[in-house]
């Protein structure tokens, strides 16, 4: 870092508690212009809370914030925004039915007198999106676009304003905080985002970047600050910082191996899928989101499925699980027996478990406690004759919690009060409790910290040793390469390549995922 860079932000001795639980204690943090400062740490370390304090989301904290040399204390998001601070939150804050342009200008609409200046907003929105390399119809509802695009719109909402204000010559947006912005993005989208970050950096912006992905940290960071359990552990320049050291800071212990895949002995074919199709709204002649897919998974095998957003791989798992009802064709055999995927209930009965890629939306019942979530998919076994047996449920959940190393104050705790990694473990507990023959994992480590990731890998090994057939979808290439015994690649609903564990490389997979012909 050169001396010419000026300090944009200094946060000093920040403390914050949620209903008596201390989430930040005496955390300090600073940011210079033209710098990407990565905030790293496990889930629940307090990273998101810290930037929410900066962005004016929470105003009941102690400690000082200085912007330049001016002490500030924001009472609202708009106050922070007016001072040039923009936060891109982990959870999308888009209003689905509203148009792209309306979303980008939500809360800071352009007006002419009392009237909304829709033309101007549409024009600006298009320009901001173009800056991100996106060409969208800004009058269409946000909900019409896939999750990856929505995330880009969210980013545009936060950062797009920068370009406009800089042009006006008025006080430009100086600080952008991004909370795991790439968790739902595909490779090319991530590349675009990194391009934007570079651009912002060169224009003197300071960027706070929260991520769990090791390669992103090293790719982007100028400096790294590690938080653990709400405390500041270390701040260091990224160049020359040892990876193992960083992980050790984050988890407070050493992780000797990042991906501990132990190959299990594979057995009989447990899942066989032949000529599987999911038909779109056009009926059997319409576009197929999954088109003529066939594959097999053996007992103890982990089959990885690679593909970009829109490749149909999540739909494939959903289709096998019965979420598409009658709009699927093809044959599925489980342990040699025919299976018709008409509804999730039948699939659970047949021994399939689907860990979806969104635990909040489709995995957990947030209001219910750990026990109730754990037994939800296997409740018949805990309620002979319809009467619930709470003691048996608790015993089973305690056993799962033990083997999954779930961290919680009590099993009666509602899952909404758990951190992301622990929530994910509850979803996993729910499915392991059904004693599945086939485990379909869609992004099992999304939004999960390093320590929990490691444990999930360890569990995958245990399951495969037990003879469970596992299908794994993950957007993290190193994870896919390390954990899969075999990898198939999907592009536009079709399988475009298959690789053995040894022949697979990142480059080949990416090429196949983009629809190129690749020799195995």
């Amino acid at each position: 870092m050169t001396q010419r860079q000026k300090r944009l932000l200094k946060m000093d001795r920040i403390c914050k508690a949620f209903s008596g639980v201390q989430v930040l204690s005496d955390v300090g943090f600073d940011l210079y212009s033209g710098e990407v400062h990565v905030l790293a740490g496990e889930n629940g370390a307090g990273k998101s809370t810290l930037i929410k304090i900066l962005g004016g989301v929470y105003d009941d904290f102690t400690g000082q914030i200085h912007l330049g040399s001016e002490p500030v204390r924001f009472k609202s998001v708009n106050e922070a925004f007016a001072k040039g601070i923009s936060i891109i939150h982990q959870e999308l804050s888009l209003v689905g039915p509203m148009s792209v342009a309306e979303n980008i200008f939500l809360g800071r609409e352009k007006t002419r007198g009392l009237w909304l200046d829709k033309t101007l907003m549409a024009k600006h929105a298009r320009r901001h999106l173009a800056n991100l390399g996106l060409d969208l119809d800004v009058s269409r509802p946000v909900a019409d676009y896939p999750l990856g695009i929505q995330q880009m719109i969210e980013i545009c909402k936060g950062s797009g304003t920068f370009f406009r204000q800089a042009k006006d010559g008025s006080d430009p947006l100086r600080i952008i905080a991004m909370d795991e912005p790439t968790s739902a993005l595909t490779e090319p989208e991530v590349e675009k985002l990194f391009g934007i970050i570079e651009k912002l950096k060169n224009q003197g912006c300071g960027i706070i970047y929260i991520t769990h992905k090791m390669e992103e940290i090293y790719r982007l960071a100028d400096r790294i600050t590690v938080l653990r359990d709400g405390r500041h552990i270390a701040t260091a320049a990224a160049a020359g910082l040892d990876k193992d050291k960083l992980i050790q800071w984050m988890v407070g212990r050493e992780l000797n191996q990042q991906f501990p895949r132990h190959l299990a002995k594979t057995g009989e074919v447990r899942l066989e899928v032949r000529n599987f199709c999911i038909h779109g709204s056009g009926g059997k002649t319409g576009r197929r989101s999954v088109d003529n897919v066939s594959f097999r998974v053996r007992a103890g095998e982990i089959l990885g499925i690679a593909g970009l957003a829109g490749s149909g791989r999540s739909q494939l798992l959903g289709g096998i699980f019965g979420t598409y009802g009658k709009s699927v064709t093809g044959r599925i055999k489980i342990d040699g027996k025919q299976f018709k995927p008409v509804c999730p209930k039948k699939a659970v009965k047949a021994g399939i478990a689907l860990l979806t890629n969104d635990r909040k939306e489709t995995g957990l019942v947030m209001e219910m406690n750990i026990v109730q979530n754990t037994t939800l998919a296997s409740l018949s076994g805990f309620s002979p004759g319809g009467w619930l047996r709470p003691k048996r449920e608790t015993a089973a959940a305690a056993k799962q919690a033990q083997s999954l190393q779930l961290k919680a104050a009590s099993l009666d705790q509602p899952v909404e009060s758990l951190s992301g990694g622990n929530q994910q473990k509850v979803v996993i507990a729910k499915w392991i409790q059904t004693d599945p023959a086939i485990l379909l994992l869609d992004e099992p480590t999304r939004g999960v910290d390093v320590g929990a990731k490691h444990e999930i890998y360890r569990l995958m090994n245990t399951w495969s040793k037990k003879g469970i057939a596992i299908v794994l979808i993950t957007s993290e290439m190193p994870e896919l390469l390390a954990m899969s015994d075999r990898i198939i690649v999907m592009h536009r609903g079709r399988i475009t390549a298959e690789f053995s564990r040894d022949s697979a490389t990142q480059e080949k997979i990416l090429a196949a995922a983009m629809g190129e012909k690749v020799p195995a």
Binding site: S19, G20, V21, Q22, G44, F321, T323, P344, K345, A347, V348, K349, L354, T356, E361, T362, G363, L364, V365, M366, E367, M368, Q372, L376, A377, L379, S380, S383, G386, W387, L388, A398, A401, Q402, Q405, L406, K407, A408, A409, L411, K430
Partner: protein
């Protein structure tokens, strides 16, 4: 198991923030008001409480079913109309047709449950919004009640062939349901309400479908993907709501000694208010039947206190509206 976040609050402090404590608090405030404005000791007399309980029982029975439906994340606007339909049916069957009470009760319960399950099926199978489906059922059941009653109140005045009316004796079941037991200290309808509460409590906390009701209200997509039979459970919840309407309708007919096709208008709003004041969330997934009891008692006592203090209906309604908001705001204040 590894423990994280040491508990900084004791059990008691946490309990004080629970919905139960808040609902109890609201009830306590109303109760204290009653003791202060006791209308020359009227509030301190058990008979006042007995009458209050009698007056809220029919609403309370409706609120039991409403609680189930609201926890699934839905709403049932048809309860007042189904109440009228079954009250009319019950009077017709027992007074005019002379059908034995047990058979008439079974038939009415069936009618109520069928109406409720009807809305449930529309909601579960055809994905019609609960508000719309039960609104339609509300109008339909009201019409059906008027059709079978000819738009007339079905009372003990029976028209004889020459066109004049003669009064018949009310069937025993009417007098029984309208009587008081335990040395005149408690009304039979209040006991019926109590039974409904217990049934709902067992369903919600002890039985598998009850767990599923909470799961669906909390996160329907997650419940479906966990193999929960969502359609069946929703149909059950609305069907039970209809069943409770029938029970309420039978009680109402007995209390009024007639089946009135215009009965129960706006009862759905009272039932919803009671559930919400108790602290059950309209967004679904949270709440419970004892909370609903607290809500029922809060509204019941409030109305009673206002009426024994001779506050006119106009002011009573306005005050009730204000208190609903106060109670809900009181429940919302967290931290």
């Amino acid at each position: 198991m590894i423990y994280e976040h040491a508990q900084s609050k004791t059990r008691i402090v946490r309990w004080l923030y629970s919905p139960t404590a808040r609902a109890l608090g609201a009830l306590a405030v109303v109760f204290v008001l009653g003791i202060i404005f006791n209308a020359d000791g009227a509030f301190l007399n058990w008979l006042t409480h007995r009458d209050m309980l009698r007056a809220v029982s029919v609403y309370g029975i409706l609120a039991c079913g409403m609680t189930l439906v609201i926890i699934t994340g839905g709403i049932d606007l048809s309860v007042g109309s189904i109440l009228a339909l079954t009250a009319v049916s019950f009077s017709l069957l027992t007074i005019h047709r002379g059908i034995s009470a047990p058979l008439a009760i079974v038939l009415c319960l069936f009618i109520g449950a069928a109406c409720g399950a009807g809305s449930g099926l529309l909601i579960a199978r055809f994905s019609i919004q609960p508000f719309i489906a039960t609104l339609a059922m509300m109008v339909f059941a009201r019409g059906l009640g008027k059709l079978i009653s000819g738009g007339q109140k079905i009372s003990t005045a029976v028209q004889i062939p020459d066109g004049s009316y003669s009064y018949v004796e009310a069937p025993q079941i009417f007098t029984f349901l309208n009587s008081k037991v335990a040395g005149d200290n408690i009304s039979v309808v209040t006991l019926v309400f109590l039974v409904c509460l217990i049934i709902s409590w067992i369903l919600l906390t002890k039985l598998r479908p009850g767990r599923y009701i909470y799961a669906i209200g909390g996160n329907e997509a997650a419940a479906r993907l966990s193999g929960v039979p969502v359609s069946a459970v929703k149909t059950l919840a609305y069907g039970l709501s209809g069943l409770f309407c029938a029970i309420a309708g039978i009680c109402q007919a007995s209390q009024e000694l007639q089946g009135d096709p215009e009965a129960g208008i706006a009862y759905e709003l009272s039932a919803i208010a009671m559930v919400v004041i108790g602290g059950t969330s309209l967004r679904g997934g949270r709440g419970g039947i004892w909370l609903t009891l607290l809500g029922v008692l809060t509204i019941g006592y409030l109305e009673k206190i206002l009426s024994i203090n001779a506050v006119g209906e106009d002011k009573r309604l306005m005050l009730t509206g204000a208190i609903i908001i106060a109670a809900v705001l009181f429940q919302k204040t967290r931290k």
